[in-house]
């Protein structure tokens, strides 16, 4: 009789796309917990709310509300300037990401997830990104 080894999670190797096309449009591609149904973005391997390891990939929101934002003029990690923010979605999901810079932003603005040539961005509804 022996004790089974634990497994590492391949959280860096996960090649999951960050956005997914749905009948309702482009959505963030995260996970949903089968234990407590909590949604998260980016996707997770363990549910921090209930401790479950039973999570499945799921679209977790395509239209949300801008919680806050800033334009960075200095950064250790990316070319500047760039604009980032937190967007709140239904089911208590908040996601951080780049904002489109075609128009100015204000807290409370409606936001849509939109594909770009390089990936995705938070955009004004109907706006070009």
């Amino acid at each position: 009789m022996s004790v089974a080894p634990s497994s590492p999670v391949a959280d860096l190797g996960a090649d999951a796309a960050e956005v997914v096309d749905t009948p309702e449009g482009v959505q963030l591609h995260g996970t949903r917990c089968r234990g407590c149904s909590a949604a998260s973005f980016p996707g997770r391997f363990v549910c921090y709310r209930c401790g479950s390891r039973d999570l499945v990939p799921a679209p977790v929101g395509g239209s949300g509300t801008l919680y806050s934002w800033t334009t960075m003029h200095v950064s250790a990690s990316q070319p500047v300037p760039y604009t980032v923010g937190y967007v709140d979605f239904a089911h208590d999901v908040r996601a951080f990401g780049h904002l489109a810079t075609d128009r100015a932003w204000q807290i409370g603005d409606p936001v849509e997830v939109a594909r770009t040539p390089g990936g995705w961005v938070f955009a004004h509804p109907g706006g070009t990104s």
């Binding site: 921090y48 960075m72 250790a76 990690s77 980032v84 990401g97």
Partner: protein, 380 residues
């Protein structure tokens, strides 16, 4: 737990020291700290060294240079809260009766990075998406402007106060007063924060000596009692978190008040984590100096500068004194030692008897911050 005292403090002025190693930064403060207390190197029973970017065995690299070894030396990260976590660990070691004479050291050399924002851990998904520390505070600032009857002038006023205090402090990196206009005209960093609303990058080192009641009595030197030493970690919340109500700081302060028996009204002097000017306003509320929504009024009232009810950051704080991250928490305790032993010189707070220090650490996805340390001290 029995009583523990800070009986000595020393630090270098914060600034840029490209020709000093981590050991070079810290050996002076460590030796001065021991000398001022009248304690021999051989009497030190343990060392806790706070740093974030010092690399392997930073504490040992310092202590070997001055012939301290054999004893336990523990290195502590906890980002900007590392230096205060070292003091917390020293307190735990003395208050539990494990040791009687313990050194806490905080040291950091940010000039190794050549300036700019702190390098964060790229394993973090938000960091990969462009998060840096100024962005965290800038988003708080945007939210503050949105929710409160406030303007960017309120953020500038924090910097003006910090620089005015720092001008009185020979340990400060910035020693020149600035105007609201100058703060607003400085270059943009993360909208709406301008350069003068952000702490500088620099180097620093500070040391404090924590001892038991018996050793405190034997030494007979001026001392402050550690009335509370609280350390919290952040609690994961990927949902709709309130960025103006950082729970980690509020809960740490609540615990510190409860443990010390003092309340916000008893505190004469505070050193808090003003890494960016918005932070001071948010933390006035989090540590209970005023009600939610009253912070810009408290600042404008003058009650948090010299002559006021509770002087906040008489040292100039992180904005003016500087913020070599792992050193800052120890430096706050050194400042409080000087304030509460009436040896703070031109920046002395009148009749200061009770003081509080507050420092958070780190930006990682889902947490307000990674760590928060709050201490309450009383003149002994």
């Amino acid at each position: 737990m029995s009583d523990a005292y800070v009986v000595s403090a020393a630090m270098i002025p914060m600034g840029r020291y490209p020709n000093s190693s981590y050991a070079g930064l810290a050996t002076g403060p460590v030796l001065d700290c021991l000398q001022r207390a009248g304690v021999q190197r051989s009497e030190v029973q343990a060392v806790f060294c706070g740093h974030t970017f010092g690399g392997m065995l930073t504490g040992q690299r310092i202590m070997k240079e001055i012939g301290i070894g054999g004893i336990p030396i523990t290195n502590i990260d906890n980002a900007c809260s590392g230096g205060a976590t070292a003091v917390h660990a020293a307190y735990q070691a003395v208050a539990s009766g494990q040791h009687e004479i313990v050194l806490a050291v905080g040291v950091e050399k940010l000039t190794q990075f050549g300036g700019g924002t702190l390098p964060l851990i790229a394993e973090d998904p938000e960091v990969r998406a462009g998060m840096v520390m100024p962005a965290v505070y800038a988003m708080r600032a945007q939210r503050f402007l949105y929710e409160r009857d406030a303007s960017v002038e309120d953020f500038a006023a924090v910097s003006v106060k910090a620089r005015r205090h720092g001008a009185l402090n020979p340990y400060a990196q910035f020693r020149k007063a600035v105007t609201v206009e100058e703060v607003l005209a400085s270059r943009p960093i993360a909208d709406p924060l301008t350069l003068f609303m952000c702490c500088p990058t620099g180097d620093g080192a500070a040391a404090v000596l924590v001892v038991s009641d018996a050793v405190h009595r034997r030494l007979g030197t001026p001392a402050i009692r550690i009335a509370a030493s609280v350390l919290h970690s952040g609690e994961m919340n990927l949902g709709h978190r309130d960025m103006l109500n950082p729970q980690i700081s509020a809960l740490s302060a609540q615990d510190a008040y409860q443990a010390s028996g003092f309340g916000p009204d008893d505190v004469d002097v505070v050193e808090l984590h003003d890494a960016f000017s918005i932070a001071e306003l948010v933390y006035y509320e989090a540590i209970g100096l005023c009600a939610t929504g009253e912070s810009q009024k408290l600042l404008a009232s003058g009650e948090t500068t010299f002559g006021g009810r509770v002087v906040v950051n008489p040292s100039g704080g992180l904005l003016a004194k500087g913020h070599p991250v792992g050193a800052s928490g120890t430096a706050q305790v050194a400042e409080m030692f000087w304030q509460l032993t009436d040896t703070a010189g031109d920046r002395q707070v009148d009749q200061a008897r009770v003081g509080l220090t507050h420092v958070t650490g780190g930006g990682i996805a889902g947490l307000d911050h990674g760590a928060c340390t709050v201490h309450v001290f009383e003149s002994a």
